[in-house]
Symmetry: C2
Subunit: 79 residues, 2 copies
């Protein structure tokens, strides 16, 4: 049965304080040169029949993503 | 500059109440046949030089994932 991943991210123009917090912590941990950190949700689900990507897209629209501030992408995971 | 995604998930054997909540809400929203929902973090970051995947893996180990209960995967995003 297909396993599908949905990545939900804040839209580009929306401030991401969680990402900023990680980005600011990195230099003191010895990581230079890492920038533009954005943090979102990663959802994996199994679809029992039909078009897994299509079903996952509908689930994301209905439940996982807030279309006002978030966007999402869907991809099939390898078996 | 390479943009890298890090997906951080709870380990298989760790209970995922957030995923369970989504899974239980789906039938009443008209989605049958979706199971085994797991929810984690999706982090995207830009690495200015060197091996982007390697740098992202080190960032994940140091800051993004708790190795006791979480596992992570790293992949290069298409330009």
């Amino acid at each position: 049965m297909p396993r599908v991943a949905v990545d939900v991210m804040l839209k580009r123009e929306i401030l991401d304080p969680q990402g900023q917090a990680v980005e600011r912590a990195l230099p003191s941990l010895g990581f230079a040169g890492v920038s533009d950190v954005r943090i979102g949700k990663h959802v994996e689900l199994t679809v029992s029949d039909g078009d897994g990507e299509q079903a996952a897209r509908q689930v994301a629209e209905a439940l996982l993503a807030n279309p006002v501030i978030e966007e999402f992408s869907v991809r099939l995971l390898p078996d």
